[in-house]
């Protein structure tokens, strides 16, 4: 029982991080119908920026803030100056360009920060909590990870559902031409969408890094699982990204706990195939076919 509880807990913790990363892919997919393969590398780069500041004596929180701000800025810049110029061409061009963004940031990080492993501090203690004599595989730092993702999710939902800016962003995402005719500056909304995605990616990057080692490639695995989580959820639903992230986190954790760690990717593949067979659009696909 204790084992099951602990496997579930660690699955949920990892799941929330996949969810955060899936959210930023969803943000971009909704706005531009693209997968940004550079997202993980952008996040990695901003984690290094935070690490650099922390190593020079800044607190963890200053580092976090710097990562979020630089993630926001980098996301916006990538949309405006890298993706926008190729957007009118075939879709594959933009996809290839995002692969270029990935290579660029990985290489830049290796040049600027070095191609070695460095340890990243955690915000809170990494020792497991004890509840009623039970040793839980849940640390204060993991509770902080979950809380951070939940807070970010709530803020994002409030922004999109209850503000006029959020309404304009959704209009630009779902009906670009109509939105322009109604006076929505669609270009600005797309830049803002990518910037917000950059911010979320950086949050995921920092949370994953906390208490472990970072290198220019430390986000690669998360990118794959975050992408699977986003697809599970339907690629254009925020709720879907979160549910997809949690489902995947739990699956991975059960597979690793009961069947063996080497089977994790197989388990992820299995759940992906099962979900897509039953619901080809993903669990929470919100887009509807347009009737003309």
């Amino acid at each position: 029982m204790e084992k099951f509880l602990n496997i579930t807990l660690s699955g949920l913790t990892v799941g929330f991080i996949y969810a955060a990363f899936a959210l930023c892919l969803v943000l971009i997919f909704r706005a531009t119908r693209l997968i940004n393969f550079g997202q993980g590398a952008q996040a990695m780069f901003t984690t290094y920026i935070a690490l650099e500041l922390i190593n020079r004596g800044a607190s963890y929180w200053i580092g976090l803030l710097a990562a979020l701000v630089s993630g926001f800025v980098i996301g916006g810049l990538v949309e405006r100056f890298v993706v926008r110029p190729v957007e009118t061409g075939p879709e594959i061009n933009a996809v290839i360009v995002t692969l270029g963004v990935f290579i660029f940031f990985v290489a830049l990080a290796a040049v600027v920060f070095g191609n070695t492993f460095e340890s990243f501090p955690s915000a809170f203690s990494l020792t497991g909590l004890q509840v009623g004599g039970l040793d839980l595989a849940l640390t204060r730092n993991e509770l902080y990870n979950i809380a951070a993702v939940l807070i970010a999710l709530v803020l994002l939902t409030l922004l999109f559902q209850f503000t006029s800016l959020g309404l304009r962003m959704r209009a630009a995402a779902f009906g670009q031409e109509v939105a322009r005719l109604l006076g929505v500056r669609v270009g600005q909304m797309l830049t803002l969408g990518w910037a917000l995605a950059g911010l979320f990616g950086s949050l995921a990057g920092i949370l994953i890094a906390g208490g472990t080692l970072v290198s220019p490639n430390y986000m690669d695995g998360v990118v794959v699982f975050g992408f699977v989580a986003a697809v599970l959820g339907g690629l254009d639903s925020f709720i879907g990204a979160v549910v997809g992230g949690l489902v995947l986190g739990l699956t991975n954790s059960y597979v690793s706990g009961y069947a063996g760690q080497e089977l994790i990717t197989l388990g992820a593949l299995a759940i992906l195939i099962v979900v897509l067979l039953l619901k080809p659009g993903g669990l929470f696909a919100s887009s509807v076919a347009r009737r003309v």
Binding site: S164, L167, R168, R170, A171, F174, G175, E177, V178, A179, R180, L181, L182, G183, V184, R185, V186, S286, S287, V288, R290, R291, V292
Partner: protein, 234 residues
């Protein structure tokens, strides 16, 4: 109100508009008629800036807006209801309406939305529902209502009767006519359904292969049997 002169629009080597000129006066409905491919939709898309013209000029209240960005048009006083797919299906009815008055600085937009619900009670009943649950007629009410929330001086309507029951068409046309008479709105109406369009329009303009072939009083056009047979199909 709206003056269009010598407008030329081309998709590659094909000219969709070949030197089109017309005036759309305030307080009048100007109906542009013609067969499929005559250039009707291209005319509206060029005027609102969705398509860039090769040459020619569009003036709104004397001001040259030919090169103004699409996003500016609604601020300059022009609302364009595009053909068929004007609702944003994923948003609710109310969100669609809020978009209509979004750029306006004044705060009575909320009251205006309530007024739209009085005008179209079916929308009021479904305000929290996603727009893709609406019927064709309700969607058309929604896009017209939304365009009016911007308080435009010029309204461009692209095939509002498309796929709608005659009763619904009459209701929407009646509403537009009433609005034009009360507020001095200028309407540029594009229609394949020439008979209904001429019944509410003041002036009719017939387009064929991107050129204006006839401009006259709507009643005169409706009575011109030869023209009707040649271009309007009724």
């Amino acid at each position: 109100m709206l003056e269009i002169s010598d407008l030329v629009t081309a998709y590659g080597p094909v000219k969709a508009l070949d030197g089109v000129s017309m005036t759309v006066p305030a307080g009048k409905i100007t109906a542009v008629l013609g067969a499929n491919g005559a250039g009707k939709t291209s005319l509206l898309r060029t005027v609102s800036g969705l398509v860039r013209s090769r040459s020619g000029q569009v003036r709104l209240e004397g001001r040259d807006i030919t090169r103004a960005p699409v996003e500016e048009m609604v601020r300059l006083g022009m609302a364009h209801v595009p053909e068929g797919r004007g609702v944003i299906a994923e948003l609710t009815v109310e969100e669609n309406l809020r978009l209509g008055g979004l750029f306006r600085k004044d705060k009575d937009a909320v009251a205006q939305i309530e007024h739209t619900y009085e005008l179209f009670p079916a929308l009021g009943e479904r305000r929290k529902r996603a727009a893709h649950t609406l019927s064709g007629g309700e969607r058309q009410q929604l896009v017209v209502g939304r365009a009016l929330l911007a308080r435009p001086k010029v309204l461009l309507l692209d095939e509002p009767s498309l796929g709608l029951a005659p009763m619904v068409v009459n209701q929407i046309f009646g509403l537009v006519r009433d609005l034009v008479d009360r507020t001095g709105l200028a309407v540029l109406l594009v229609e394949q359904n020439a008979k209904s369009a001429l019944s509410i329009a003041d002036t009719g303009i017939v387009l064929s292969l991107g050129k204006v072939v006839a401009t006259d009083d709507a009643k005169v056009l409706a009575a011109d049997e030869q023209l009707r047979h040649a271009y309007l199909g009724f």
